[in-house]
């Protein structure tokens, strides 16, 4: 009798986890922005190619059932560091379901763990919790345009030890196109609590500098000793996922950019690349 009672309790507790369902589609295409031409593979929230990898939002305590549908020409996999290992495959035209039950809030990164996925930018943001705040998303990415086309057409022989990137993007946009991307271009008012979910999907660290404000590191996956630091310049190593919390104490239009100044260019032209803005009204 007692055991039956516990069994019923367990049933209830298991269904009390809210399940959320999401579907992403792998597509490959070429980004054309000014003089930038870049081959990418992207997780799309709809059944066609979109520029920015899908952003997935979940409430604290929810369990994500993520369906991955592969419309690309090569096999992929789905990885979330510490949660879903790379020993899976999403074959061409296949549909595979994954379960992600995070044990904490903050920013996570999902990505394809195959070479074609890793080296063509199939990597997106999951934000757990913070759904009542003003939210923005920065998916940082870098590549050498020639190397990316070699990966896309299968002639690349591996990732080079002497990497020389030429294209630097936020949500797969280069400055000034970043200023039209509502996911990343931060708008708000003095006193708002703004959260920015930021991942590094690229192959090099990106040292983001905020003009005008310091931000608090609200969550961090890799360089965990920096949790709750207040920073105006924050380096994200490859694969990093952080949540910045910004409470603006003054109005103004301020740039945010990688302080490694080769990255504020588009195939060599200044200004470009990894620059966006904070637009804070009174």
């Amino acid at each position: 009798m007692k055991n039956l009672f516990i069994a019923i309790l367990l049933c209830f507790s298991s269904i009390s986890f809210t399940q959320v369902f999401d579907t992403v589609y792998l597509y490959r295409d070429t980004i054309h922005q000014g003089n930038v031409i870049l081959n990418v593979v992207s997780f799309s929230p709809v059944d066609s190619f979109v520029t920015t990898n899908a952003v997935i939002n979940m409430d604290a305590g929810e369990t994500l059932n993520l369906t991955v549908i592969n419309r690309d020409t090569v096999d992929h996999s789905l990885v979330i560091d510490d949660y879903i290992e790379s020993n899976n495959s999403v074959a061409v035209n296949d549909t595979v379901d994954f379960v992600f039950q995070p044990s904490e809030n903050g920013t996570f990164r999902y990505y394809s763990g195959t070479d074609q996925g890793k080296y063509l930018g199939a990597s997106g943001i999951i934000l757990v919790g913070y759904q009542n705040y003003s939210r923005f998303y920065w998916n940082l990415y870098d590549h050498n345009d020639t190397l990316a086309s070699e990966f896309a057409n299968g002639t690349a022989t591996g990732f080079p030890t002497e990497y020389r990137p030429s294209v630097f993007l936020i949500n797969n946009y280069t400055f000034p196109h970043t200023l039209t991307d509502t996911l990343s271009y931060v708008t708000g008012n003095v006193g708002d609590t703004i959260v920015i979910a930021c991942i590094n999907s690229g192959y090099m660290p990106h040292s983001l500098h905020f003009h005008g404000y310091h931000v608090r590191i609200e969550s961090v996956r890799k360089r965990t000793h920096t949790l709750f630091w207040d920073k105006d310049t924050y380096p994200l190593i490859p694969g990093e996922a952080v949540l910045f919390r910004l409470i603006p104490d003054q109005e103004g239009m301020y740039p945010v950019h990688d302080h490694n100044l080769i990255t504020v260019t588009n195939t060599g032209a200044y200004p470009g690349g990894m620059i966006t803005r904070l637009n804070i009204q009174p």
């Binding site: 030890t161 090099m204 660290p205 040292s207 301020y254 302080h259 100044l261 504020v264 195939t267 060599g268």
Partner: protein
Amino acid sequence: MRRICFIILTIFPFLLIGQVEHVYLQSKMDATITLSDGHQTNFWGYGYQSTNPNARVTLPAPKLVFEKGDSVVIHFYNNSPEDHTIHLHGLDVNQVNDGVPSTSFAVGSQDSVNYSFRVSHTGTYLYHCHVLTSLHLTMGMYGMIVVTNGDDHLYDGGPKYNREFDYLTSDMKRAVNDNPLSPGDFFHIYADYFMLNGKADQQIFDDTTLSIDYRPADTMVFRIGNIAYSCTKWIFPDELDVTVYQSDGREVPVSFQADTLMVYPGERFTAIAIPNGIFQDTIEVEYCNMSDGSTDGVNKIPIRLDPAHLSLEETLSEELNPLKIFPNPAENYFKVEVQDDQSKLKVVDMQGRIIIQKSLDKGIQTIRTSDLESGVYFVFLNSRQTQLVISK
């Protein structure tokens, strides 16, 4: 647009509270620097304004030191043929004073402007030009800003210090400086000269503001900023206890000991360094390529006991009449052989404080050290002395 900014600056000269500090800077584009290998190249930089037309700009620019709470006016004269600005990196100034041409204003050739702001947090900051930044930074337009607490504390309630060493790392691609009119593609600025306050290699050993002669009682503050295209990895000797207290002008939530410290482009750290023994070594600064992680350059900062205190070290290495104690390293006690009655024994810590003082009679005597913390001490017996390591 520029005129509007001037008007705003004139009407609202900022809330000038506390001490008002005025700094008079100019920029020039006709300077040259001799690199550590003897090669001469061009740089653009900031220097103090002067009635002397030959007044020089420096690489890096003058270090600006303010006190927390100061209101600051930087009077900036662009004494050069092209646009420049001053971006006050990390000071969170208002938009018009931010020094970014597209969101603030550019300062044209031969123009004079004021940058007004207030420094509200102690810490280590930077200033640099934000015009065509990928070029103007490798050309040398940067300097450090230090905001002190106005006393010998790092910040209110923070650690005390008695000496300060400020290190700004930077780098340059010499071909760009040699010929700034054709800099080539900006994504190809891979540095080949790596500097610490504008110096490299032997120049650092020869510069008494960079190399460290410590005294046993010193508590040193290291202010470290990186304005390079590379990230820097600082490797401290074992005999130097380095504790990081601040980053980017804010206290870290929990101060931490660092054997190594990565400083990425634009980051700053403020740390306290205390020698835990008598040693001669170097602090190594590796310059890492941001694109592929390779180590492209190294600088070394020599650190040694101040020669004025060398007599102590010489005495310690004196073989003629050494003071023998055992065990050493010791934990709760050590023994010493005393040759005369009423000998005076002293145990002194690295800060020069007398921790134990005793009069001892002839024979093998035991000295209790259970109250001593781990570390290096000096033991004096009459005129003889030695070094004692307490290890717990």
